[in-house]
C-alpha cells in the first residue's frame, strides 16, 4: 500500500498478543501496527477475537503473551488508566453514559481529582468546546444525555475520549445502532479526526462500510490474523472469503415472482404501553412476498414481532390472519400455520437446558403428532427432531444433547427447522407455513449461516408463504425485501416496493423525518 511518507509514523505496535480462555485461543500471536492518521479496520465474525484484542489493548484483559507499544512506550498490561494516559480512547458499542446527567457532567466524570473541593466546570466546558470545535462535533454541553438521540450519544462518547486526550480511538461496531445518515455523519467525523493526525481502529463485521471508511483492513478468523489488505485494492468477496476461510456466495436479490392474496392484515394496531409499543400500525402481508421492516431498534419492532408470535395481545386495532382474528396463543398460532423466528435465540428461541429433541417439537408438543392426551409420543418426537437435524443440517450436538451445546448458527437452524418443517410434510406433498415472522433472523450469525437462513426464507416465500422480516440490518432489508416498510416511534410508513426506496429515503424515514417530495 502506498502510504504517503508523512503518515508512516507508527503510533501503536501490537506484537505477538496471545490470549487463552481455557482451551479456547481467543488471540493467537497477533501482531499489528497502526500508523499516525490511519483508519485500521478489524474485520471478523463473532468470536474471531476482535473484542478480545481491543480489550487487551484497553487494559480490560491481560494477555498471556505479547507486548503493546504506544507512541514508543511499552503499555503496562491490565491497566485501563495507563491506556487512557497513553492516549488510547475507546467507544464501546453499548454506551457508558449516565442518562440522568448532562453531557458536560458525563464527560467530566472520572477525569477530576477525587480530593478537590469544587469541580472546575468552567474550564471543563471551555476545553470541551475547544475539542468540539476542533473536530466539528457540535453538542450542547448542558443537554441531558437521556434526551439525546443515539447518534448524539455516540458523539458524546467520542468527545469523552477526545477530552481525555485520546490520539488513538477504538470504535467497537459504531454503526450498529445508527441510521444510514448518522453513519455517514460519523464517517465524516472520522475523516476530520484522521486529517488532524489521530489514528482509528474501527471494529466491524460489515464488509461494505469497512471498505468505505478504512485505509487498511486486518481480518481475524478463529483468533488468528489471517490477512491484511489495503482497502483500495480488495473486494467484498475477497474479505468475505478471508473471514470464513472459504469462498462464499453472498446472497443476491431475487424478487418475488408470484405474489398471492393477503394472508395477514394489521389495521391501526396499538399495543399496550411498555418500553416500546405500536401506536396505530397498519400492514398487509401477502403470500409469496417478503415484507421487510427497517428501523432503528427500539421503535416498536419487539411489539410487532411479539404480537405476531402470539406472546403479546393488541390493546386496540385488529389483526386478521386468513380472514379471522389472530389468536394470542403461540400453540394455536403455530397450529394455524405461523412460523416464528424470535429475535433472541438463546433466551427465547430455545430452552438451553433441555435436549435438542424436546426443543425441536416444543411448539407442537400439544398437537396429536407429538402427544396423545397427557403422554408425549417420545418416539415420534425424536424421529421428527432427527428429520429436522438432517434437513436443516444442524451440527455440533445430537438430538439428546442440551440445546445450549449448539453454536448460534446451528441453534438458528434448529429454530428454523422447527418453524418451517411441518411434521405432516412429505417430500412430494409439502405442508408449508402460511406466515413467517422472522425477527433479526441473521443477527450475530457468521456469513455462511446468514446465507443459509436467508436462502431458507426466500425458498419459503417462493413456496407461497407471507414473510415478515424485521431487521436492523439495512443491507439485509434491501437484499431480501420485496416490499419495505419503515417503523418509527410505533408507526409504520406505508410500504413500497424495495426498488422504489433509496438508502437515503429509508434513512430519513428511520429517523422519523418526513420524506422529501412526498
Amino acid at each position: 500500500m502506498p502510504i504517503p511518507p508523512t503518515v508512516t509514523e507508527t503510533v501503536l505496535q501490537i506484537s505477538g498478543i496471545t490470549k487463552r480462555f481455557g482451551t479456547l485461543v481467543a488471540n493467537d500471536a497477533i501482531s499489528l501496527t497502526l500508523a499516525r492518521g490511519e483508519v485500521l479496520a478489524l474485520l471478523g465474525e463473532n468470536g474471531a477475537g476482535k473484542s478480545t484484542l481491543v480489550s487487551i489493548l484497553f487494559g480490560h484483559y491481560v494477555a498471556d503473551a505479547g507486548t503493546i507499544t504506544a507512541f514508543g512506550n511499552p503499555l503496562p498490561p491490565g491497566d485501563p488508566r495507563a491506556a487512557l494516559a497513553a492516549g488510547i480512547g475507546m467507544v464501546h458499542q453499548h454506551f457508558t453514559l449516565a442518562d440522568n446527567l448532562t453531557v458536560l457532567d458525563n464527560i467530566m466524570m472520572g477525569s477530576e481529582p477525587l480530593w478537590q473541593a469544587f469541580t472546575r466546570r468552567r474550564q471543563a466546558r471551555e476545553k470541551l468546546e475547544a475539542v468540539a470545535r476542533q473536530f466539528s462535533l457540535a453538542v450542547d454541553p448542558h443537554a441531558r444525555v437521556g434526551s439525546l438521540s443515539v447518534g448524539e450519544r455516540q458523539r458524546v462518547e467520542i468527545l469523552k475520549a477526545l477530552y481525555r486526550g485520546a490520539r488513538i480511538l477504538i470504535l467497537d461496531e459504531p454503526t450498529a445502532v445508527l441510521t444510514p445518515q448518522e453513519s455517514e455523519a460519523l464517517f465524516a467525523v472520522l475523516a476530520r479526526m484522521v486529517a488532524q493526525g489521530l489514528s482509528i481502529i474501527f471494529i466491524s463485521h460489515k464488509l461494505a462500510e469497512v471498505l468505505r471508511v478504512s485505509d487498511r483492513i486486518a481480518v481475524l478468523r478463529g483468533g488468528k490474523l489471517v490477512a491484511q489488505a489495503d482497502a483500495r485494492s480488495t473486494t467484498q468477496g475477497q474479505l468475505a472469503q478471508w473471514m470464513v476461510g472459504h469462498p462464499i456466495d453472498l446472497p443476491q436479490r431475487r424478487p418475488a415472482t408470484r405474489v398471492g392474496e393477503a394472508v395477514c392484515v394489521l389495521r391501526d394496531v396499538v399495543s399496550a404501553a411498555s418500553r416500546e409499543r405500536l401506536a396505530g400500525a397498519s400492514l398487509t402481508l401477502r403470500g409469496g412476498e417478503i415484507m421487510a421492516i427497517a428501523g432503528v431498534s427500539g421503535n416498536g419492532q419487539v411489539a410487532l414481532a411479539e404480537l405476531l408470535c402470539g406472546t403479546r395481545a393488541a390493546a386496540a386495532g385488529s389483526v386478521q390472519f386468513l380472514g379471522r382474528p389472530l389468536p394470542a396463543d403461540p400453540a394455536l398460532l403455530v397450529a394455524q400455520g405461523v412460523a416464528r423466528i424470535p429475535e433472541d435465540r438463546h433466551a427465547v428461541g430455545v430452552v438451553g437446558d433441555l435436549p435438542v429433541w424436546e426443543n425441536a417439537v416444543s411448539e407442537r408438543l400439544r398437537s396429536p403428532a407429538f402427544s396423545r392426551g397427557f403422554w408425549v409420543r417420545r418416539r415420534a418426537a425424536r424421529a421428527h427432531a432427527q428429520r429436522i437435524l438432517q434437513a436443516f443440517d444442524v451440527r455440533g450436538a445430537g438430538a439428546a444433547a442440551p440445546a445450549r451445546a449448539l453454536s448460534g448458527g446451528n441453534m438458528q437452524k434448529l429454530i428454523l427447522g422447527r418453524a418451517l418443517l411441518h411434521p405432516d410434510s412429505m417430500p412430494d406433498k409439502p405442508v408449508n407455513p402460511r406466515l413467517i415472522v422472522a425477527h433479526q433472523p441473521t443477527w450475530g450469525l457468521d456469513i455462511g449461516a446468514v446465507a443459509y437462513v436467508q436462502e431458507q426464507l426466500i425458498a419459503a416465500r417462493d413456496a407461497g408463504a407471507a414473510v415478515l422480516l424485521i431487521s436492523d440490518d439495512l443491507d439485509e432489508v434491501l437484499v431480501l425485501g420485496d416490499q419495505v416498510a419503515v417503523i418509527h416511534a410505533g408507526h409504520l410508513e406505508a410500504p413500497r416496493p424495495a426498488a422504489d426506496w433509496s438508502r437515503e429515503a429509508i434513512g430519513l424515514a428511520m429517523a422519523g423525518a418526513a420524506e422529501p417530495g412526498a
Partner: protein
Amino acid sequence: MRLEKRHRQSALALVLAPVGAVAVTMLVSALLVLWAGAPVAQTYALLLQGGFGSVFALSETFTRAIPLMLTGLAATVAFQARLFNIGAEGQLYAGALAAVAVGGLHGGTGFDQIPMPLLFALMMLAAALAGALLLLGPALLKARLGVDEVVTTLLLNFIVLLVVSMMLDGPMKDPTAMGWPQSVALMGELELSKLVPQTRVHTGLLWGLGLAVAVWALMRYTVPGFDIRAVGANVRAAQFAGVPVTRTVVLVAMLSGALAGLAGAIEVAGRTSYVTLDMSPGYGYSGIVIAMLAALHPLGVVLASIFVAGILVGADSMSRAIGVPTYIADVIVAASLLSVLVATLLTQYRVRLR
C-alpha cells in the same frame, strides 16, 4: 481466583465428583469426631451399624425416610419449575391436621359411618388438598404479581404452626391427653399397617416409592412434565413455545403442596396416630436438602432420603454408645450437601487462581 466454564465435561470427572464429595464429607466430619475425642474409625462403624447394620436399624431408617422422601419429592417438583417452595414444613402440618380432621375420633361427626376404604381415600385427599391449597396462594401471588415465593412460603410455615397450636389447644384437642397439646387420635382402622412385624416401618414406604416413580414418570413422559421443566429452565422460551406458564406454575404448586401434605397424613397414619407440635423435626426443610442431594431427580430422592435418614438414625445409636453428640449427623448431612454442590460445580467449571 475465578471460575471458568469447562468446554466439555470429562467422563472421569463425572465419576470422581461424587466419590470426592463423599471423601471430603468424611474428612470434615472426622475432624469434628477427633475434636470430640472419639476414635474416628469406630465412630463411623457404629454410625453405619446403627443406621443400616441390622433389621431393626434398617426399619428405623426406612421409617424416618418416609416423610423425608415425600417432602423431598415436594421440593423436587417445585424446584424443577423454579418455584422455591420453602413451605413444605407448614404444608406437612396442614396435611396432618386435615387427615385428623377427616379421620379422627371426634365422635358425632358421622364420618365413622362411611366405609373405611372410602374414608381413608377421603383422608388422604383432604391432606393433599390442604397442602396444595396452602401453596396455591404464594404461587398465584408469584405468577400474577411477582411476589417472592421464598418469603411467602417460609413465613406461612410459622402461621401454620400457630394455627396447629391453636387447634391442638382448642377444637381438636384430645380430651384424654391429660392436658398435653395433642390432637385426637386417628380411627384405628385408618392407620397404615406395618410392613415388617415387630418394627415401626409401615406401608407409607410404599406410598413414598410409588409417588417417587409417579413423579419421575410425570416429569419424563408427559406434556405437563415438559411444561414444568421448560418453565423452570427458561420461562420466556417456554412461553414462546406455547407452554401455559401460569397454569403450569399453579399445577406445580398443587403437586408440591399435595406431596408435602401427604407426608403429614402418612406420618400421622403410619407413626404418630395424632398430631403434635413436634411431630416433624423439620422434615419440610430437610426435604430441600434431600432434593438438592438428589440433583432434583425424583428417583434420586428415594436414595437421598434413605441416606439422610440412615445418618440421623445411626448418629442416635452411635451417640448412645460412644458419646459423640448427635449433632454430628447434621454436620454430615450439611457437609455432604455442600460437597455435592461443589463437586457438581467443579464438573462444569474449573478454578483459575489469579
